[in-house]
Symmetry: C2
Subunit: 499 residues, 2 copies
């Protein structure tokens, strides 16, 4: 078999895996949006069956054989192929590291715990969750150790690498320590600064779902969302899902408050335009996929935080928002809407957190999950550790575990190593946007006029069209001339929240 | 390996196939209802990939081996298992009869022709369709010949057997000849009779989609549609799809005429309650599936034609319909609505045909498709043969092929052997309903009061809960005490249309 034919066989195999994963993604979307409740268990079986098929293909010994046959010598094959082979190898290594029994055991532990979590959260009963959360942590630890040998990484770094290839805890430690120090002074300054500013004038509802939907669609269109290759629907927890040429974002509407749904739509739109901009000729191949969860989050946060919560954007958006809800008075003016969208206030709940306090929620979770995985923290001690961390980072103590360590679904569903990507994404977003502003002529002026084409083009050529050709670090460096740099994020915060 | 363990292995395999087929069904539904147009080709690949996986499992040599190990001796294992094994064998035989290359060739020919058909129909250009339709017929013939040897049936009977197990052309010939003779006199009598009746008073629209939807939901609920295990949505061509505990029906709304959408919803509801009533403990097994397309159609037609177009139903429904659209005047009274829903008028289009003329459309298609498959009719001669048949059966001649042999998607998509199930279903529906009326106390009285529970229970215990335990003939005989009997259908027509 020639080297080329081995490569082509790999391409076919990964294409097949990608297609099955796309089918899974649509079934997942359906489950979260419109599926009748009575078919939950049938759907679980469909998803499990297809996941096993996909996993069986990805772990097939034939892939190892084929990978061995292909020469990785970078001089001989083009860089896209090299990156594709690296992506193939990485995915295969991750998958074969975990024995089939452990995969099953993990899936079982995660679904049990996830189910019990709903009850525990609702009833504020951490003790009830403890045994199943313990199981999840044990099996996650086992998985991370199994991967560790094959990947040559520490167990926790194997978990990180699942979500963001190349992401390592050493780097995160450094960034998070730096930012914790920064925050300890900055947060107080912001609170002090805001206390001297005019109060936010509240917006009076109700705001009909129809009007909210129309407004969201208007801005999605402005940002170039391609409706011939995507949809927006409603789900309990907003997400961006779907597959190739079929990107499906969701939101939820609150008739008393349109503001968070609107930003949610713009956030998911950022994810969606990344997916839409991936290189079509590398569809279904590892190199044609998005570069990892942190880079994905950078695209949603670039849109939501960097662009849409900026004063420039509000100059454009405020009159449109006002018209959409037939608003009148000061509450609907640029200044007030901008103030509303940049209000900072330490709170217990991560998903409701503002841009300034959000990283504190992540730093806490990152440290706790590392300690849980390394067995330095027992599950029984989690609530106390959580509350101490909140007090230390944000100066507030949750009155109960539902507002504390029970709030997120991530750990009960087995997602360890995911949380850091939120903040790495926020840092990268600031850095990308900063570079775009430098490289494009009067970007903020354009945004204040509702012109987003040059920004979109910049994102397309610097990020989206690269797929996974470059590592996240290379991608950042090529686009911004710098490695991941927390200072740019901090400067952004200073400029936005102290002016 | 013990016999029992061989059986259990078969059950697992067919369960897996069933689960994959369910996933396919949901993706199919999504494609026909809400999928963005730009993902058509990605979706085709998903469906093709999953179909190949399902087909690979069904044709796996292991199934033959396992089937050989199980003793079919009816004395030794219970009748459900026997029927399940027969269903397994039948599905496996159908699948292995066709070589993989031919499966691919058929799929390719069908999709090309189906695509060209849209254009040919729109532009009334039969010549354009001829080459690809010829391909479809040739490959269908090849498939039917390949199956013929393994199944011990004539090639055309193999096609019939795909959709309705056990259905044979000899029987259909007999039934259709009988009915053609009946129709030749009866249709004239009905037209004569109706000409002496008061004219139908037209209903004046527009009828908002919202109101139509609400009305449809109301009747669906009346008939016991379980919304926790199903949905109703919109698609261009109404259908009943989805999977286990997730039955999804569709309709389309015309703001100028609610009547056909409403009956469409009730028709699909008949299909849906059949699916909902299948034996849960045999889920995903051949014996747990519906008994074939003719029996399926009998359930939709029993609801639509036997129940909902009856005078008794209209007594219940007319005031509800009137209220739904705030109607007033004679047009909205029972007599007029019943007259509207039982109006007979020969026309060119099958899907618009009334209950009396519908079988004529089917008889025509059945004869033509048999002749096409047996090579007794050349594709080039199809339009002329079609028009002659319409003239002979209904006394009308289509002015063009779009209103003639180009109207249906069935042949271009490779569905030969499907058409007869519509009329076999209509005959069975009359027979089942006739039996229910005899066995239940004052069923029509109950229906006129909007009480459908005893009918639903009768269908559940006599038909739905049987799955594929009995052959279609046995099912009919057990429920009605008679073999398939066209006379009961004809008596129903006489009683409804000449009184």
């Amino acid at each position: 078999m020639s080297e080329n034919s081995a490569y082509n066989d790999l391409v076919s195999l990964y294409r097949r895996i990608g297609i099955i994963n796309d089918a899974i993604a649509i079934l997942d979307w359906d489950q979260s949006t419109i599926m009748p409740e009575g078919s939950a268990s049938a759907r679980s079986e469909q998803l499990a069956t297809l996941s096993v098929l996909s996993h069986d293909l990805l772990t097939h010994p034939k892939i190892s054989e084929l990978l061995d046959k292909v020469d990785f010598n970078k001089g001989k094959i083009d860089s896209w192929k090299v990156a594709n082979l690296e992506g193939m190898k990485r995915a295969h290594l991750h998958a074969i590291s975990v024995p089939a029994d452990l995969v099953k055991e993990q899936s079982r532990a995660n679904s049990t715990c996830q189910m019990e979590w709903r009850k525990a959260k609702q009833e504020n009963d951490f003790a009830f969750l403890m045994p199943s959360l313990n199981d999840v942590i044990e099996v996650t630890r086992e998985v991370s150790v199994a991967k560790s040998e094959n990947l040559g990484l520490s167990p926790y770094d194997c978990l990180l690498d699942t979500y963001e290839p190349g992401c390592r805890s050493e780097r995160i430690d450094e960034i998070f320590s730096n930012h914790e120090k920064f925050l300890s002074g900055f947060l107080g300054e912001v609170m002090e600064f805001q206390s001297k500013q005019p109060k936010v004038v509240p917006l009076k509802g109700p705001f009909s779902v129809d009007k909210q939907k129309k407004l969201g669609l208007k801005f999605m269109k402005d940002f170039g969302f391609d409706f011939s290759r995507g949809r927006v629907d409603v789900s309990l927890h907003p997400f961006c899902g779907g597959g190739l040429n079929d990107v499906r974002i969701t939101t939820r509407y609150d008739e008393n408050d349109f503001t968070s749904s609107l930003m949610g739509v713009l956030h998911e739109t950022g994810h969606a335009i990344y997916e839409h901009g991936l290189p079509e000729s590398w569809s279904y191949q590892p190199v044609g996929s998005a570069r990892g969860m942190a880079m994905h989050e950078s695209q949603s946060l670039l849109l939501e935080m960097q662009v849409c919560r900026s004063y420039s954007f509000m100059i454009y958006a405020a009159p449109i928002i006002k018209r959409a809800f037939s608003g009148s008075g000061q509450a609907w003016e640029v200044d007030n809407l901008h103030r509303l969208y940049t209000r900072v206030s330490p709170g217990f709940i991560r998903v409701d957190a503002d841009e300034v306090t959000y990283p504190a929620h992540i730093i806490l979770r990152y440290r706790l999950e590392r300690a849980l995985i390394s067995n330095d923290l027992l599950v029984a001690d989690l609530p106390a550790a959580w509350n101490e961390g909140m007090a230390s980072l944000l100066g507030i103590t949750p009155p109960n575990d539902s507002l504390g360590c029970l709030q997120d679904i991530h750990w009960p569903s087995g997602s360890f190593g995911y949380f850091p990507t939120y903040t790495i994404g926020a840092v990268a977003a600031a850095q990308f946007y900063n570079a775009a502003k430098k490289q494009l002529n009067d970007l903020e002026g354009e945004i204040s006029k509702g012109k987003f084409q040059s920004l979109l083009s910049w994102l397309r050529s610097n990020i989206h069209s690269k797929g996974s050709l470059l590592s996240a670090d290379e991608l950042l460096h090529t686009a911004s001339g710098d490695n991941l740099n927390i200072k740019i994020f901090q400067e952004h915060l200073q400029s936005r929240y102290l002016n």
